[in-house]
């Protein structure tokens, strides 16, 4: 029935924890099993503020940093100039997803790499492995910096008001918040019509910054309602829809592949999957009358039909619980009813 959403130790540093917990109860408040419509409305129609409990934040610096990432990942990154960003996928030589991250070009020879994964070591070790003669250095900031995502059509306005600045659309900017630098990064890759801005800052200024966003019209969103939003918009999640178990095409990351960019790690395998129609699964939203569990195997016509990868335990206004699943090709049609361990789940 109830769940605590954020670990207090990660909320902020010890000096301000009491103040934070008092003034931002909505980020830690236990929830009911019903979706919070005000939080979902903020994400869909206003500005939802989602604080990541853990995310990968890595500084990548040096004259070869952009070129190296361009050679390693699925997106063409050579054209990403200062003040711009692009989301890209790092895949293994087997074509499986290692991580997906936003590359923000924050200054000359300075990048910020931001991913949804709580395991920063995964990205750092993968890039480090391929750094041989390149002049590029990685610095993991995940423990000292924090990430907030502002989501919704008013996200940019909220950031502008809170940080007292103007922002161009699709921009990456360093903005001084008092004496502290804050990095604002637009992410246009999350889905059609979804405005998404990531804000990266030193954890110590957490409380002040969240208050400023709330005072500028943002609504704090807890992890459960954010998860429901993510699932309802079929946004692939780290170690759920994508990870070492999936290739980027089946994991709903097709839009992150530039087919004409040339070689990157895993390109040959991924190109072959696409060219020969070998992709066996796709990410689909499932609807059910009771909540599903992650990892539940799906069957259709008594045959394996896929696996549930994300499952919201919140009941939305529509009355049907939502999940994401990797569904096998034969069962992708809308309204196909699958069996999820005794529960009917309808592909939407």
């Amino acid at each position: 029935m109830v769940a605590v959403l954020r670990s207090p130790s990660r909320c902020l540093d010890p000096d301000v924890s009491a103040r934070h917990c008092e003034s931002h109860k909505q980020l830690q408040t236990p929830i009911s099993t019903k979706a919070d419509q005000s939080q979902l409305d903020a994400l869909e129609n206003g500005c939802g503020i989602f604080l990541w409990d853990a995310a990968t934040i890595v500084q990548h610096s040096g004259p070869d940093a952009v070129d190296l990432l361009h050679r390693l990942t699925t997106k063409d990154l050579l054209g990403v100039g200062e003040g711009q960003s692009r989301r890209t996928a790092l895949t293994s030589d087997r074509g499986r997803v290692v991580d997906v991250f936003l590359m923000a070009h924050i200054a000359e020879n300075q990048l910020l790499l931001v991913s949804d994964s709580p395991n920063s070591e995964r990205m750092v070790s993968a890039i480090d492995y391929y750094t041989i003669i390149e002049d590029a250095e990685l610095n993991d900031l995940s423990e000292t910096h924090t990430r907030i995502s502002l989501i919704g059509p008013n996200a940019r306005r909220t950031v502008e008001s809170a940080l007292n600045t103007g922002l161009e659309p699709d921009t990456t900017a360093r903005i001084d918040f008092g004496d502290d630098p804050v990095y604002v990064i637009s992410d246009t890759s999350r889905g059609p019509g979804i405005e998404w801005i990531d804000v990266i800052y030193e954890t110590a200024i957490f409380s002040r910054l969240v208050t400023a966003f709330e005072n500028s019209g943002g609504t704090a969103v807890d992890a459960h309602n954010f998860e429901l939003f993510r699932i309802s918009n079929a946004i692939p999640g780290s170690d759920r829809e994508y990870g070492e178990h999936a290739n980027p095409i089946e994991a709903g990351l097709l839009h992150l592949i530039d087919w004409d960019k040339g070689c990157y790690v895993g390109q040959e395998v991924i190109a072959r999957l696409d060219a020969y129609g070998k992709v066996q699964r796709n990410v689909k939203v499932l609807k059910s009358q009771v909540p599903l569990d992650e990892g539940t195997k799906l069957t259709g016509d008594s045959k394996p039909a896929g696996v549930v990868t994300s499952a919201s335990q919140l009941k939305p206004k529509s009355g049907e619980y939502l999940s994401l699943a990797l569904v096998r090709k034969a069962f992708l049609s809308s309204e196909t009813v699958l069996d999820a361990d005794g529960t009917a789940a309808t592909v939407s």
Binding site: L68, H70, R71, L72, D93, I127, Y129, Y130, T131, I132, I133, E134, C263, Y264, V265, G266, Q267, E268, V269
Partner: protein
Amino acid sequence: MTTMSPQRYVPINTIEITEKAAGKVTKFAADKGMEKFGLKVAVKGGGCSGLTYTLDIVEGPDADDKVIIQHEIEVYVPKKAFVFLAGTVLDFSDGLNGKGFEFANPNAAKTCGCGTSFSV
């Protein structure tokens, strides 16, 4: 002239450049008007299999390069790249079906279709 089969490797404390490959390097350097030159052989991240061979004709070695002399050609290998290249033979394949410079690398567990990248 030295010929090379894909199975042929050299001791792991060096890399080898065949006489034919050395001749091609000398010709490319002459075309560029370089009298003093060496062949820089390295590995960088990227390519379908993760690691890509690079070849450059340069004027001299960098401080951390291992220098190997064969067929009157100086070959420079950055120490960080040498661990991926130890025991490799560099040959040149010409003709209509030739692929140019070819690497036979005993460290490569897998290579991509075009042969320019590998994984270990």
